[in-house]
Symmetry: C2
Subunit: 416 residues, 2 copies
């Protein structure tokens, strides 16, 4: 679906800038020059901005200084001002560079959402006002993160909301690309703090990016990537300060399948609980995980294997900070369902390999396990999906595991 709008000569690029890149007037002026550069290549430009710096956090703190649980409708009214300040200041910055520009709030461009305040979902986009301003030769700046209901109530889209605004606008305007200007310059084969020789990926598929995000690589929120996948918007994660291109996130292309593994990701501060000798009858797993979900416990990996005498062991991982709460629930469950007991492994982490190439290459799992065994790293649990393999290991071996796997798949220094 991405391409040029019928009847339009110019291609549209959507440029999204996060709050850290807008924290001061000086930074804003730098961003404005960046926008002018792109515009001068002959494209139409639509800019989406977040609230400047840590303004959103400051506003939340202010509200909480007044009330412990501030009303959500009023929080939306409050927080929407952050992005509104950014769009106005950015338009002022562009005009001072003799670049004609105009700012619009989410409601002004017709971004309609449901009425779930603080976590609203977009139900309708509007592009008339934007296209009209583009035709007049203006750069259009739209406030991210916000919309309004059919009843003209101001709403916000929750975490990663500004990214979502950018992707939704790019889809609606059939932009050629939606560019994310960030404090990282792309998506890497591993966290460069753990693997200094990690390579920046030139491109990666939506599915890989989605797996990576849930595996600990915090580049874009999954909501935005899912929206982009659904509507075919090409995403470009790149540096806000350096001019070089970053990583494209797009439909799978053949070249991607030539690579066995795209990246190694990791998480830490997890814990594992195993319920021993669970009677093997229908509905037991539903009981266990239903109860844990009722208590808002976030379960990650689940593994069930056969134990003795018609019983099974059921293991799952959670965040370390939830362990004490989870233990209490499990203690009760053990009695209720007639299991033998439970074990806790308090400090574990997860190492994963991601790559669409796994679909066509065999031996990825074997190579991964070999890399770990060569370093004497014990695998506690294994979980797989079509394009990823995760191994749970002891927390203090996580970095070493990432390095070993990264080396095994020869991911270092692939790009400069």
């Amino acid at each position: 679906m991405t391409g040029s709008t019928p009847g339009r000569e110019k291609k549209i690029t959507v440029m999204k800038f996060g709050g850290a890149t807008l924290a001061t007037p000086e930074l804003m002026k730098g961003v404005a020059r960046r926008i002018v550069d792109v515009r001068n290549t002959g494209q139409d430009v639509v800019v989406v901005v977040s609230a400047p710096g840590d303004m959103t956090d400051n506003l939340i703190a202010k509200a909480q200084a007044i009330a412990e649980f501030p009303d959500e409708r009023e929080m939306d009214m409050l927080l929407a001002t952050g992005e509104q300040q950014s769009i106005a200041l950015m338009a002022i910055a562009l005009k001072s560079l003799n670049c004609d520009a105009i700012s619009f709030t989410g409601p002004q461009v017709g971004i309609v959402t449901d009425d779930a305040h603080c976590k609203a979902r977009i139900v309708k986009m509007g592009s008339d006002k934007i296209l009209k301003a583009l035709r007049l030769g203006k750069v259009v700046i739209v406030a991210g993160f916000q919309g309004e209901t059919e009843e003209e109530e101001i709403t916000t889209l929750g975490r990663g909301g500004s990214d979502l605004t950018a992707v939704a606008l790019a889809a609606d305007l059939t932009a050629v690309v939606c560019e994310f200007y960030k404090d990282v310059d792309g998506v890497y084969t591993a966290d460069p703090r753990v693997v200094p020789t990690a390579s920046r990926l030139l491109n990666i598929s939506y599915d890989e990016m989605l797996e990576m995000a849930s595996l600990g690589a915090k580049v874009l929120y999954n909501r935005s990537v899912e929206f982009a996948k659904k509507s075919g918007v090409v995403l470009h994660v790149r540096s806000a300060v350096r001019p070089e291109p970053g990583t494209l996130i797009m439909e799978e292309v053949e070249q991607m399948e030539g690579v066995m593994v795209s990246a190694v990701t990791h998480t830490k501060q997890e814990a594992k609980l195993t319920i021993l000798w669970v009677p093997d009858k229908p509905g037991i797993a539903a009981t266990i995980f239903g109860r844990l979900a009722d208590e808002d416990l976030n379960i990650d990996v689940i593994v069930q294997d056969i134990s003795e005498e018609g019983t099974t062991n059921i293991s799952f991982t959670i965040r370390q900070k939830d362990l004490q709460r989870a233990k209490k629930i499990v203690e009760t469950l053990v009695k209720e369902i007639g299991a033998k007991g439970y074990q806790a492994d308090e400090k574990i982490g997860k190492v994963s390999v991601v790559g669409v190439g796994m679909r066509s290459h065999s031996g990825v799992a074997a190579a991964m396990f070999k890399a770990l065994s060569e370093r004497g790293i014990n695998i506690v649990m294994i979980s797989t999906s079509e394009i990823k393999i995760s191994c749970i290991v002891e927390e203090n071996r996580v970095e070493e595991a990432v390095q070993a796997i990264h080396e095994k798949f020869k991911l270092s220094n692939l790009t400069s």
Copy 2:
């Protein structure tokens, strides 16, 4: 026109809070308690708020750090966020006191303005949304200072804009009173810093308030008082921290006419220029003051009297800081019109008495002049209107002049 809306049982009070009264979460909570108190007397309450603290000034500084002359449409987009933050935080504060409340921006309640950005004029008010929320038992909080054009462009109303919003809402809702909660507790017979025994006025007419404002008493902007006069809204200027009533500004009542003089006001840092021996022919005054207006010089008092041989002397006062600019223009004018020359009096001030009682009492001017002559204070110029008399005196005698006149009319200690 003030009173209760047909079909409404409850009376509506509009409460306006300025930025200084909203500067911190603690102050906001205090304001919220104040609102609850009024509401608990059984009235419907509509609250109008300014931007918190010095936020508007900070935003202007931020914009000017980006561009020397920021675009006015974008300044409106930027500045409107200040009041939007106040309404949200105030609604949160009220709800935390178990007082149901809802906030609306100017555009949301349908305040429509012309498109003169940064100094827009209200062309239409909307009260449907407000009345509906009041019927649901809510306190309604409306952002002052802002509106939108018919094309949904955000506008702001310029200096004193939030006061104007409050008065316009009070008129549209036929509120019983529009209350201004301020850091002063009312309108005084003289500036209490000059006359420590000055009395707080219980009430004063619109016309007196208008004269006082232009004579240096900075309590409310004239735009708001004029609007209130036109629509018959009773204004109440009172303390944001003390519970006692302040000063009512309202239609002239008989009782007001019983008082010869309501207040003594003063200004300083003015200067006087006199053009000598101006040929007495039609159009000369227009030439002189047209030229001064072209240069954006603010002229205050103008006096013309007869000089010699068919010529006149024309004197006027301006602000001291404009004197050098004015002198240059006058020098050129003297040559052009064939006057004899000019004189400058660099440090003068103005003392005025205001009171609708002047209409029915004679001898006010005489008593004022006598008060000054008893202290040996020389009168440099005199200017009168129907309800005020102003005397220009030397700047260093202004305080003494105010005290002498205040004493002469026995204005001290009239109220506690």
